[in-house]
Symmetry: C2
Subunit: 206 residues, 2 copies
């Protein structure tokens, strides 16, 4: 009944996949209307229809990144969830904290691609107060989620109550962010097994 709308949606998906491929290969420094158009075998003119300027393209790219990250599979967290009946408390605590953190690391090529784009976004985000505030808010929410798992683990007696959950969460997030950067630059030195080992060593010291 609404073929025009269907075409429009199909085109939007095509645009967002082209943006993703450009980001994965060239980063935000290589993100131009021309590069996205070439990736779609379209004209730059068609793209200006979607993005009147560079900033609109940038904002869209960050939006694609956010949606892709929200929608991506989280095998480690799902396998922990599958191990217990939801709400019984057994799927919470340290095992869940570990699973959530593992899912954030570049353990697979897909996750490395997505992390590479996140890390790349820091340059443009730090140059734009509005984008920087959005990123800051994103990382604050992520710390809150981590703090929830830390508090669960403390309640279950798996982690020491010595430090407030928020402090532990801030430190844990820092550790994981840094490990992502290390692994992206030196995938040979930081294969998946070593990343997990470093994370486990960190959690054990808590």
């Amino acid at each position: 009944m609404t073929p025009a709308r269907g075409d429009h949606d199909a085109r939007r998906i095509e645009v967002s996949e082209a943006v993703w491929r450009v980001l994965a290969e060239r980063g935000f420094g290589g993100l131009t209307l021309r590069a996205v158009a070439a990736e779609m075998s379209a004209t730059t003119g068609l793209l200006t229809h979607y993005f009147p300027n560079k900033r609109a393209l940038l904002a869209y790219a960050l939006d694609v990144l956010e949606r892709r990250t929200a929608d991506r599979p989280r095998p480690a967290a799902e396998s922990v969830l599958a191990g217990g009946t939801p709400g019984d408390g057994a799927v919470a605590g340290l095992a869940m904290l570990r699973a959530v953190l593992l899912d954030a690391l570049p353990l697979t090529p897909e996750n490395a691609a997505s992390n590479r784009i996140w890390v790349g976004s820091w340059d443009v985000a730090l140059a734009d107060p509005e984008l920087a505030a959005e990123h800051a808010e994103r990382y604050r929410r992520s710390r809150e989620r981590i703090a929830g798992h830390v508090a669960d683990a403390q309640r279950l007696g798996e982690l020491s109550l010595e430090k407030p959950a928020e402090e532990v969460a801030a430190a844990v997030q820092g550790f994981v962010l840094g490990l992502v950067v290390q692994a992206l630059f030196a995938p040979g030195e930081f294969p998946a097994a070593r990343q997990a080992e470093l994370l486990d060593g960190y959690l054990a010291a808590l």
Copy 2:
């Protein structure tokens, strides 16, 4: 005796300061010949004399960043060094490790500016295999230096011998890299005192 050479050097300093200011304000995403020229009140034509293309400008910018980082003052490490006679062993170990790591954090506006540029360089570096390899080598050397201090602290009985110094150094570097990113995006939540507190909490857990 060599006024031409002196002019040339003065101009190079002017170019490198203009590149630095552009990077500090707009990041690598805003680094163009036009932006550097405007910063110097020069013509883009003059700049093409120095940089035939964008990649040459990029490589130069990374070089400026590296030199500025090598030359910057390191108050914490210097104060530790001042506390002992060089070579007596008392200036090594955990205190030196802590001082070196403190100097890497964005505790001052100058260090925040320099860290902001380093973090911004990750996008362009990850998009270029040669630049990525150079960054990887830089971080590998930094891990080696950290491992040296960890090994000293282990020898002095200040740190447990349970883990190899290289493993501890990799984890420590990850933690500091991540803390830099957190503090750049949320300077209000991560003021200097909290950064130092998080670092001390991390070192205490080792």
